[in-house]
């Protein structure tokens, strides 16, 4: 499960990279849904690839 520190790091990067750009909200929504799916063990194949990249980068280590 994503812990607080990982969530903050992910959203921190999202903010730095995307805030102010047109797709910021779209990717934010996708990140929330994607983390929830990841936490639930569901595939991320329907999630925006830009959100998936962030999730993969910050996901908990196995």
């Amino acid at each position: 499960m994503f812990e607080k520190a990982q969530i903050e790091a992910l959203f921190g990067e999202l903010d730095r990279e995307w805030r102010g750009k047109p797709d910021f909200e779209t990717i934010s929504r996708a990140v929330h849904l994607g983390i929830a799916y990841w936490d639930a063990g569901r595939p991320l194949d329907k999630i925006d690839p830009r959100a998936v990249a962030l999730i993969e980068k910050h996901k908990p280590k196995a």
Partner: protein, 415 residues
């Protein structure tokens, strides 16, 4: 564990022009369209115990909140009130404005719905304005029988930062935008030849949620808020009543009435323990009845709180994803995770799943009822504890009561 699908609800996309969405409702979540209610009880309570706006009934604590607001909240609230006042004033007299166009007599439901969506309303639905819910002080004010229920979505990103000033900017900012948009939509209805009366979200004529449920725009959540399919409770509600020929929508069973009983995240995460797990029958409606006195002290001191909005999976992920996940797995999407359940509570720090802030009893002792009722309460306690006060104090008390009565009650307020 996969669930059997009882029915699939098809709704328009979140924004105008978006594709329709499908919401699968599991068999074990299916109840009734809208909400369970006993019509005779609703009528009885409205007749014998009519409701009044909280801006009057709870005036004492609504005045008190200004004494505990942070400096930042105080500044923002005053600025918001200045912006909002002309919008609320315009709404108050909107029902008297003459139509500007010529009516054709044709049903204009879809024309109004389309215009509402073009203006940016996330949901627009039609139902009868149910006068049983009208607040006492507004009974003579409501002019027209058809209600157009309008929900304006609040900013997604800002809302996820709850509780925070950033989220409060979204909250009050949405009211300001909505106030202006309802004026535009009312103008449009008048241009088609009909009257339009705006029921401001900041000067409510009734509790609006029952009519939104009747119009099929969502179902009542355990957090006491309308859960609409795309944005859950992340919306601000307004109504326009009209004499235009329209067709009413039907209530819908999105599965949310029962889903809340399975989910319970808002109930478990409420910092003030103001939400209750079980539904009760209240004024003829089966609902999770919020305990106002547990909610208000937290709201006032912690940037509007609204943790119940933040942690609702329908708000966070939308009903299509949450219901699909439930059907596929039998689980509540996000339940038990830091992502959904975690929140930071100002100086108290972070609270993850299973952790709640603690408050002592004194924290919840705030003024109750109407202003004059609260004064009487204080006076009674003084009599009991200290005996008969000096005459000048009694006269002072009487003057205070008179001032309140002369000033009268305002129905205007933000929630």
């Amino acid at each position: 564990m996969t669930k059997t699908v009882n029915h699939v609800v098809t709704r328009p996309g979140r924004k105008h022009g978006d594709a329709d969405v499908q919401i699968p409702v599991a068999q074990d979540l299916s109840t009734v369209p809208g909400i369970r209610q006993r019509d005779a009880d609703v009528s009885f309570y409205s007749r014998v115990y009519p409701q009044e706006t909280q801006n009057i009934e709870k005036a004492a604590d609504r005045q008190w909140v200004w004494s505990v607001y942070s400096e930042e909240t105080l500044i923002h609230r005053k600025r918001h009130d200045e912006i909002n006042e002309p919008l609320v004033d315009a709404a108050a007299v909107s029902g008297d404005l003459e139509p500007t166009g010529t009516p054709t007599g044709e049903d204009i439901t879809e024309a109004i719905r389309l215009k509402a969506r073009e203006l940016g309303f996330g949901e627009a639905g039609f139902t009868k304005f149910d006068r049983r819910y009208t607040y006492t002080g507004k009974k003579r004010w409501v002019k027209y029988e058809h209600a157009i229920c309008l929900a304006l979505e609040q900013d997604y990103v800002q809302t996820q930062s709850l509780p925070s000033m950033d989220a409060e900017f979204a909250h009050f900012g949405t009211y300001e935008i909505e106030g202006a948009l309802t004026l535009d939509l009312a103008d449009y209805i008048r241009s088609l030849g009909y009257y339009a009366q705006i029921h401001s979200p900041n000067d409510n004529s009734a509790p609006y949620i029952p009519m939104f449920v009747a119009a099929g725009l969502g179902q009542l959540g355990a957090n006491g808020q309308l859960l609409s399919p795309h944005f859950g409770s992340r919306a601000r509600l307004a109504i326009i009543t009209t004499d235009a020929p329209v067709t009413y929508d039907e209530p819908v069973d999105y599965g949310l009435h029962q889903f809340c009983q399975v989910c319970q995240v808002c109930v478990n995460r409420c910092p003030g323990r103001a939400l209750v797990p079980d539904k009760v029958w209240w004024r003829g409606v089966e609902k999770n009845k919020l305990i106002y006195e547990r909610c208000r002290p937290v709201m006032a001191r912690y940037d509007g709180c609204a943790v119940c909005m933040k942690v609702c999976p329908i708000q966070r992920f939308g009903a299509p994803a949450v219901m699909e996940h439930y059907v596929t797995t039998g689980e509540v999407l996000g339940k038990g995770t830091h992502l959904l359940e975690g929140y930071t509570f100002l100086e108290r720090g972070y609270f993850g799943p299973g952790e709640l802030p603690q408050f002592d009893r004194q924290f919840f002792e705030i003024p109750h009822g109407r202003n004059e009722e609260w004064l009487f309460q204080q006076f009674k306690e003084k009599l009991i504890n200290e005996g008969l006060p000096p005459e000048e104090e009694i006269v002072g008390f009487a003057k205070q009561v008179r001032n309140i009565l002369v000033k009268g009650n305002s129905t205007i307020g933000d929630e």
